[in-house]
Symmetry: C2
Subunit: 144 residues, 2 copies
DNA sequence: ATAAACCTTGGAGTAAACTCTAGGGTCAAG
DNA sequence: CTTGACCCTAGAGTTTACTCCAAGGTTTAT
């Protein structure tokens, strides 16, 4: 049995985060002391571990809520239910990676074309590319 | 010379977005008509083009503001100044990609271990991994 | 003269996941 | 009995990039 501060310390998070998770229905302390203090059981602590691990692999709190709701009703759920959540997230992550890789390629192309020296930005290929209709790099910065 | 609606239509954006860019100091119309209407010049339109291209390669509006401030003072700026902004963003993008790839690997590992069938989630390796201290996958779902 | 299609301002709402503040109760030690 | 370390609630603030709303002025066409 832990008070909010103890649990927070154990998992190196803010007590406000714990209250926030409660408000979001992710981790409701299993009892409340007569003085109003939240009391977390070891099962609660285990659940918090699940939440933090899920967060660490990219799940949103909303995803985690779904995962936890499956978890508590394991017996009536199928592997399919679980895998769908994971695959859905994986698809989102893949999509985001691709978007970022597009950014990465464009940025790298711009970076590579610029000399990065103390020459005047008047002839900077990066600025020229940004001004060109199609983000085209005409040449490398040479500044004659 | 364009009114706000014309410019917005030309670039397929919302008029509110243009007003927002103005509030943020990114694109201030070069004049205001006597009736209070914003009047954008072709130079303004060109700047909008730069903004949208920069956005399309991953720059935030704040980055773009920096880029535009260099652009207007090109003569007194160096290639270095420009390249720093690009390289900084590139570093951010790279970092984000790495984070997402970590997610991707973990998610794929989980996904691969789960049968995804109609078997009970009681023995689902995904749930087991999330509950295990170290996100370990003990075995593949076989459900005996 | 009146409707449709513009334009203006100021301010609120959205998502996500916290984080902080104010104002006040609780508890153990010295 | 007071100090310090806890705990409580309700609500506001943060970030980014819009998007929408209300209430009203302007223009153009019929
Ligand atoms: Zn150069
Ligand atoms: Zn350059
Ligand atoms: Zn299975
Ligand atoms: Zn499974």
């Amino acid at each position: 049995m832990y008070r909010i501060g103890e649990l927070a310390k154990q998992y190196d998070i803010n007590t406000d985060t714990l209250r926030y998770y409660e408000k979001e229905g992710l981790l409701v302390p299993s009892s409340i002391a007569s003085n109003g203090y939240r009391i977390y059981s070891s099962a609660d602590a285990k659940t918090l571990g699940v939440i933090l691990r899920a967060k660490a692999i990219g799940f949103s709190l909303s995803d985690i809520k779904t995962l936890l709701s499956i978890e508590v009703d394991k017996a009536n759920k199928e592997c399919l239910d679980v895998k769908l959540v994971v695959d859905d997230k994986l698809a989102q992550v893949n999509a985001k990676i691709e978007e970022l890789q597009t950014f990465q390629r464009s940025l790298k192309r711009l970076s590579d074309a610029c000399c990065g020296g103390h020459e005047s930005a008047q002839d900077c290929t990066i600025l020229q590319a940004l001004e060109s209709e199609s983000l085209t790099i005409l040449s490398e910065c040479h500044h004659d």
